[in-house]
């Protein structure tokens, strides 16, 4: 199988979970690569979460340089935003938990 298809399949699997509103793949500079939401929302999420992830990662590494950020979950009143950071990419999933 092509790597892309695998990626696609995995992302689709995540997307079809109950309550998941959208999935976004963003590159290291905050440019969206793949998304299930509309363009303006994607761009907004990508820019904001990219900065936040950088800040979170620097916080973790400041406290302990041997440590690194693995997963970021932001819980708001309406949604939960999950971010998996990486050196080159960022995976973002938005879920509505109370549905």
């Amino acid at each position: 199988m092509l790597p892309k298809a695998e990626v696609e399949e995995t992302l689709k699997r995540i997307q079809t979970h109950k309550g998941v509103i959208g999935t976004i793949v963003v590159n290291a500079e905050g440019i969206p690569i793949r998304t299930t939401l509309d363009n303006s929302t994607t761009v907004q999420y990508a820019g904001l979460l990219h900065q936040l992830t950088m800040k979170a990662r620097s916080t973790v590494r400041d406290i302990d340089p041997q440590n690194d950020l693995t997963f970021l979950r932001i819980r708001s009143k309406k949604h939960e935003i999950m971010v998996a950071p990486d050196k080159e990419y960022l995976l973002i999933v938005i879920q509505n938990p109370s549905e």
Binding site: V7, I14, I33, V43, A46, L91
Partner: protein, 739 residues
Amino acid sequence: GRPQHSKMYCHPNDIFPLTLTSATQELFGCRCDEDVTGDNPYKILRKEDIVQDMRMRAAVSDFSPVKQLVLDYPEDELLLVYDRDFIYGSSFYLVLTADAKERHLKPVVALGVEVALECEPLEVFAAQKTSEPQPWISLGSEQEIEEESVTDSRPRYRISRVRREFGAPIFFSDRNAMETKDGFLECTPYQDKNFSLKQMERHTGVQTIPNLKSSSTQTQWTYPRSMCTQYEPREFSEEEKENCLQSEHLKNLVNSVASRFEIAIQQNEIMDVFFDDWKALSEEDSGYGRKADPHLKEYQSFTDLHFSKEKTISNINWHPTINGVIAVAVTERLSFEDRINGSTKLLLNPSLILFWSFSDPINPQLLLECPDDVFSFEFCPSDPNIIVGGCMNGQVLTPSLSLFLSISLLTEKPTCGVVDIYSFSLFHSDKVSRMGVPMENRNGICVQIVTCAPDCCVMFWDIRAPRVLQTMADQRKQKVEEKPLENPHGVPNTFKHLDLTWKPLIRVQHISYCKTQLQLVLSTTFCPQDGELVYTDWKLEKDNDSGRLFSAKPSHRFIIHDGQVNTVRRSPFFKDIILTVGGWTFAIWKEGVMNGPIIQSSCSQKKCTVGYWSQSRPAVFFIGKEDGNIDVWDLLEKTHEPSQTQNITATQITCIKPWIVSSKQHLLAVSDHLGTLHILEIPWTLRSPSSNEKLSMSKYFEKEVDRLVYFEKRREMRAKEKKDSEAEELRKKMVRYSI
């Protein structure tokens, strides 16, 4: 004076008081008042005699207490003194020392006995010739006496009067001490410095913080220049995206983090850990006391003696933009035959649409005169100055209310303006019984109206100004016709070129009468008179043969209500839930479920005349009855009977329309058969939705749909079973016969 002790308090050391019995007195020759007297109390006794007496009589001897002293006495003779006054407590006393004896004998004789006895015991043997009274030493007793005694503490005030006023009554009065300067003396409090403490020591904690420094700068803006930046987010092109998606790195990443995501998502699916059950228990916005009253309260009532006497109200509409204005269409309360019979009289009575305002409950604000009774009218949603009305004689009217002056005066002074209506030629052969709300086109401007009439026609009209190219002749003709239509009231001629030029867009023939509400979306339902419900789609289809557009046949037909269906209403919260009211029952339908109504009520005692959904609560709707009652149904509370019934008027209710004025005030306009318009206030319990009400209602509807589907399935199954069993029996019979 000195206190007198009755008893001797002490005797000097050199004498000893003795009591001698008469026997002893005889023996020693010191009988009281015979041998020794007050004048001559001294008796010399020989020591030997005393000793012998003591030997002889031992313990009984009177001298036994002084035995040792007597034995120690140096001389031979002791002095016994007769103590006639019992000064020392006994009748005699024995002098124990020689010196004392000398003193007694010698000075006493010179001084006298009484004087010696009156002295203080310490000074008894003082060598004074005469004793003078000693100075009195105060021991504090006189103070006690002084305290107890009553004396004047201040000089006595003497008030005297003139002689003529002696014996006359005296009148005292009060005087305020504050009046004169020296009327009173006061001691004002002051803070004495002696008592204020200064804290010299204190325990505090100290914490160091990093150095803080705040500073600011101001930039100099020498040349104001407008500048702006426009930006857009960076985006990848499709190929770049493809490249990224193909990369190995992404694949690895996705594979590694996918499980993490799934765990997190599943966690959320299982339970929402941040949900606060305690907070969610309470219902928000609970007013004190106001919650208790669930009844519709009468807010105002409008009836006009002049114009709505003997009439009934056929339709009510709230003005969409102006608050507090409601329009009613009054029609004659006559049946068709009576109308025909009395048609001449009716012509004289103009038919009206009345506009009421809350500011004036007595006089209607505006009267619209119509050529005939208006059975139904609607405000145009995009332009509330336009009303479309359907009349008794089949006319469709749009009076233009762009008399802005007249409308604005509704809030200030009442005016009764009568506006001429532009009327149009008859297109319906019978009365227009119901108007549809004008539909909107893409620009949000209403351009279409729907009418239906008992002549089995439903027509769609386009009210846009026709852009038809007209020939010169037509134009001229139109101009000629325009002149008589010049309005006397200065109404702008918005629709003048629509006169007589309206053509219906679609014309649909149906088999039976249409008399009731239309609710328009692209597909709609309408209900003919005898309780039938017809469901159809208004999309135009092109007939391949003739090339003409026609509308599809009705897809479904239901007979549910046992009387004329008078209400078909969509729920404002659910796009596919429809309430229909007719006869003695009402039913709730879901679009898409074609088996039947998902909820059907039981027959009520009285006919249901009208129904309407509540605007703020998804589970509540109002049903009006023919005895003037309003049933309030709350499907989440009770589904077999109304949650409350309230009597509004004595006659049949003809129309119900709710309206939301503000979040605190919801009004319900109810009109009755007598021509009175009642405005009721909806209480808090009926207007404020409980949390999750919409969700509960949608779940309830789903349950009902499931129930219908289930029953349908069961019915089919039973039918199949029955068929099978019949076939089986038939086969058995045949087998039997064939044998």
